[in-house]
Amino acid sequence: MWNRVVTPSRARPASRVRVIALAALCVAALSGCGSGGDEQAELNGMTRTPPTEVGTVSLPDESPGGDGRMTGLEGEGDGLMLVYFGYTSCPDVCPTTLADLHMALEEMPADQADRVEVGMVTVDPERDTPKVLNGYLGHFFDADGFDSFRTTDMDELARAETAFGASSKIGKPDRHGDYDVSHTAQVYAVDDTGRVLVEWPFGTPSDDIRSDLERLLSGDGPESA
C-alpha cells in the first residue's frame, strides 16, 4: 500500500505527496485501534523517550518480608515492579487502581504474574503505619507479591517522587481532623535496571495493563528505546 502511493509520486508535486502520505498515516493510526496482534502493536500505557531512570531510588520496605530494609523500587531478576504512590484512606482512586492491578495479575499466566511485584509507596506515612499498609496491600495481593514502602522523612519521600516524575500534597484537615492527599495516580512498571518501561494513567483498563505486562514479560517490550 505504501509503495503504491510512493511510486507515482516522482511525477507529482511534493505537496501532493505529503497529503497522500498523511492520509496513509491517518489510516494507519485508525486501523491500529484496538488490535492487539499486528506486528508493530504499541503498548497501551505511556512510554517516555528517554525512559525515566529510577535505579538510584530506595525506601524502607515495611512489608513482612522487608523488615524495614532500604529496598530499590525496581524489579528483581527478569521481573518487574509496579510502583504506585498512594494512601490507604483514599476511597476512590487508590482502591480502583489496586483492584485493576489485582485483576490484571489474576488473569495473566501464573508464571508471568509471579515475576511481578507491586510496590506501593505511602504518601500518608502518619496514618499509614506499617500494619495499616500491609493489611491494605494484603487485601489485594499475595503476601510475597507486594512491598510496602514507607518513610516518615518527607524529604526522602519527595526525592523518590521526583525521580518518577510524581508528586503528592497533604490537604487541610476537615472538621473531624480527616484529610485527603492529592497524588499522582500513575502506575510505573520498573525493570531490574531501574528503568520505567511503561506507565499507566489512572483509569487504564485492567485488560490493557495485563496485555502490556504480558508483552513486557515475554521480552517484547520497548527495550530498544
Binding site: C26, E42, M46, P50, T88, C90, M103, A166, S168, D178
Partner: protein, 183 residues
C-alpha cells in the same frame, strides 16, 4: 507544513485512542421515584484497616434533578458526603500516550515536556450537589463523582448490601441498596 502534518497525525492518533475500548454495563440494584431513576448502585469492598469507602451509581432524570446529599445508617459509617475526584495540575495525556517508531521526533518532544511539568496529581473535594441535566444520565464512577463513606463502622465485605438514602431536589428521598463488589 511539517507542523501541520504532525498536528494532523496527533489528531488522528487521538481519535484512534479515543475510539478504543469503551464498554458500558448496567447491572445491579435500582430504585425510582418522580421520574428520577438510580441504577447500578455499588460499593467497593474494603480492608479491615480502611476507614473510608465509596459508593457509585448511575442517575437518570427525564426532567432534570439535583442530588443534594446522601446518608447511610451509623452501623455503616459515621457520615456520607458527595465527593468529586479531580485532576490537579496539567498534563496532556493524549499527546504522550503510546509510542510509535515512525513518530520518534514528536514523541520525544511531547514527552520531555510532560516530564518537565510532572504528572498530574489527582485529588478529592466535597461538592454541595451533583446536577443531573434533563434527559441525561450522570455516572458516579471511579475517578469522578462518588459518595464517600467516612469512618466506616466495619469493613465492607463482598456481597454486603448497604442502604443509602439519596436526597434529590425534585424527587425527594430515594432509597437504594449498594451491593459490595471486589472489582
Amino acid at each position: 507544513m511539517k507542523k501541520a502534518i504532525l498536528l494532523s497525525v496527533a489528531v488522528a492518533g487521538a481519535i484512534a485512542i479515543a475510539g478504543c475500548g469503551s464498554d458500558d454495563s448496567t447491572d445491579g440494584t435500582g430504585s425510582a421515584s418522580g421520574g428520577t431513576t438510580v441504577t447500578d448502585v455499588w460499593t467497593r469492598v474494603t480492608t479491615p484497616t480502611q476507614t473510608a469507602g465509596a459508593v457509585y451509581m448511575t442517575i437518570q432524570s427525564p426532567d432534570g434533578d439535583t442530588l443534594t446529599g446522601a446518608s447511610v445508617p451509623s452501623s455503616v459509617a459515621a457520615e456520607a458526603q458527595l465527593h468529586e475526584t479531580t485532576d490537579e495540575g496539567s498534563m496532556d495525556s493524549t499527546d504522550s500516550m503510546g509510542s510509535d517508531d515512525s513518530m520518534d521526533s514528536t514523541d520525544s518532544m511531547d514527552e520531555t515536556h510532560s516530564m518537565d511539568s510532572g504528572d498530574a496529581m489527582m485529588g478529592m473535594k466535597e461538592v454541595d450537589q451533583i446536577d443531573v441535566p434533563a434527559g441525561q444520565s450522570v455516572a458516579l464512577e471511579p475517578g469522578g463523582y462518588h459518595i464517600m463513606l467516612i469512618d466506616l463502622a466495619k469493613p465492607i465485605e463482598e456481597g454486603d448490601t448497604i442502604p443509602v438514602t439519596l436526597d434529590f431536589e425534585q424527587a425527594g428521598e430515594i432509597e437504594v441498596d449498594a451491593t459490595a463488589r471486589a472489582e
